[in-house]
Symmetry: C2
Subunit: 138 residues, 2 copies
DNA sequence: CTACCGTCTGGAGTTGCCTCCAAGTCAAGC
DNA sequence: GCTTGACTTGGAGGCAACTCCAGACGGTAG
């Protein structure tokens, strides 16, 4: 176990979050309480860092803060919350899969539009308006 | 061409947006100005509806309003903006592809965690903490 | 004619998620 | 011992994207 215990500034740099965001996440229960030194300064352990990295990843994928705070709270309540936690993960997984599917469809659509621009299929705005009527291009 | 010209309420119902959102989108230039009746009431044509549907799709995929307003403004300026418009689409397409890639990775991670919950690989919180140290689970 | 529903406008309020600030404490270097 | 820089707190501020509201107008049904 290497260089344990980092300051909030180091953690912020490591994970590309601001110190304000890290404190905010802790305050709202998105990260379990971080240990402190005698003089009340936060000392992030490896485990704390793992939480930060996990939360950052989930937030980045659009998982709502509320679901994550709930998960963290249940985690801290121990093994009895095993099932509930799993359900949260499944719900979030399904929502994420749904969003990915929608975004893939939109990606296709964008690629299609770009191809049309490339091929100069749309030489004038009037013609463009006409194709709109078919609900295909814009 | 079937039932042309819908009221804002009909369009809202058709596309699952609120009338407030539709008016908001028009006000900020996200949808070209919609034609009005003599009594100033909005009358959405098929083309207007196509814009609404397009914008809804793009917003749903996380494309920023700013990029879309710029695209709409260029579109209204005519064919001379062909290249600029294409560039916007390409930028947005690339950003979207990036987000999808990240989300897919997060989806994998969630599935992995759920599998672990299923297999009861994590029977107690202490053990869970141990696996955290390897940066694998949380 | 009146009631009612949907629309109109401009502007204020809300939500989610940070981000910034003032005022103070602490450890280290000069 | 004083300055510097990173940390502390509670609370205010900010931004994107809506969402709601008051007050007015229009068309239709009874």
């Amino acid at each position: 176990m290497g260089g344990n215990f980092m300051t909030i500034g180091e953690v912020a740099r490591k994970y590309g979050l601001s110190v304000d965001t890290l404190r905010y996440y802790e305050r709202i229960g998105l990260i379990p309480n971080v240990h402190r030194s005698e003089s009340r300064i936060r000392n992030y352990s490896d485990e704390d860092c793992n939480w930060v990295e996990f939360i950052k990843c989930m937030r980045n994928a659009g998982v709502q803060i509320e679901a994550l705070t709930e998960y963290v709270a249940l985690f801290q309540q121990g093994e009895s919350t095993h099932f509930e936690r799993k359900q949260i993960l499944i719900t979030q997984r399904d929502q994420l899969a749904q969003r990915i599917a929608e975004m893939k469809a939109t990606l296709k659509r964008l690629n299609f539009k770009i191809d049309n621009y490339d091929q100069h299929i749309v030489p004038a705005q009037k013609k463009l308006k006409k194709t709109n009527k078919k609900g295909v291009l814009l």
